[in-house]
Every structure is written in C-alpha cells, then in structure tokens.
Symmetry: C2
C-alpha cells in the first residue's frame, strides 16, 4: 500500500477502534470521543487551556445534533487539525528558507 | 507520535512532496495532482474506467476555480475517498459478523 492509502486505512481503523467499544460501531459516544482525543491527540490536548475543550469539540463536530460523532464528523476534526498544522509547517519552512 | 498524529503528518508531507515540485509549494498544479493520484492512489485509479478521471477530480476539487489544488482542496479528496472506503469496511464487517 502507498503512504496515502495507509493513511486512509489508519483513519478508518482509529475511528472504529474507539467507536466499536460500546457496541454501536457506527458512532463515537461522548465517552469514546473523549478517549480517542486523550489517547490519539495528547500533544494537542496539552496545549489547550480550556478544561472543557473535549466537550466543545464534540459540540462543534456533532453537526446533526444527535450527540454522537459519526465517521464524517470525526474527519472534520482531522481536517481542521491538519489544516492548522499545515499552516505551521509552511511558516516553519519559510523561516528555514530565509536562514 | 500517536497513529493519528502520524497520519496527519503524512497528509501534510504527501501534499508537499508533490506541491513543492514546480516551485510553488502551496498548491498542486495539474501535472503535480496527476502525479500524486497516479503514485499514491494506484488501486483507486485501476478501478476507474473513465480515462478523464484525474481531470474530473481536479475540476471537482478546485472549488475556488484557480485551476490549482490547495491543501484544503486536497483534503476533500482524502475525505471523500475515506468515507467511501469506510462504508465498504462497515459492510464487510457486517458480513463477517453474520457468518
């Protein structure tokens, strides 16, 4: 498999690793999403000063208001974080270029 | 790094591996996008019967009409493919469960 194919497979297996915990394998419950964020995004969580950040993320992601997070909603989180990280990456590369 | 962090890093490095080829490191030109799809998604491309699929994808992704694909537009491709793959994954798991 190529790196991009591996990456897409990872996204699916990570989501299901947590979503399958309480029997409903299609969505992340509040508890499952908290566990996913705490386990998979510790560096991100460490930077957050708001103690309710996980709750806020869940509310943001839960676009259809069913208080669960499905795979598409989970991908919005990954996309949002990746876009933020990519901006930092570009800035960092520009700084390196100037040196 | 966790699996999800690795995955986000991969998305950024894959995009820049191709976007940086023609000097403009911020977007994928037509040629760069073709190369990315041909190299990173060979299994997907093999299933497509439409010879213009890469052109069609570029037009779909290029939401701001500048005939280039930026990182956010590239992520739409990854999200679209991941959602399609995840649906197959769930169906496959359901079939396994019934056996």
């Amino acid at each position: 498999m190529t790196e991009l194919e591996n990456c897409m497979e990872s996204l699916i297996t990570i989501f299901h690793r947590y979503a399958d915990e309480d029997g409903d394998g299609k969505t992340l419950s509040k508890k499952e999403l908290s566990k996913l964020i705490e386990t998979e995004l510790p560096a991100f969580l460490k930077c957050q000063k708001n103690p309710k950040v996980v709750d806020d993320i869940r509310k943001d992601l839960d676009q259809n208001g069913d208080s669960k997070v499905d795979f598409e909603e989970f991908l919005s989180l990954v996309v949002g974080l990746s876009i933020a990280c990519e901006k930092c990456f570009v800035l960092h590369e520009q700084k390196k270029g100037k040196k």
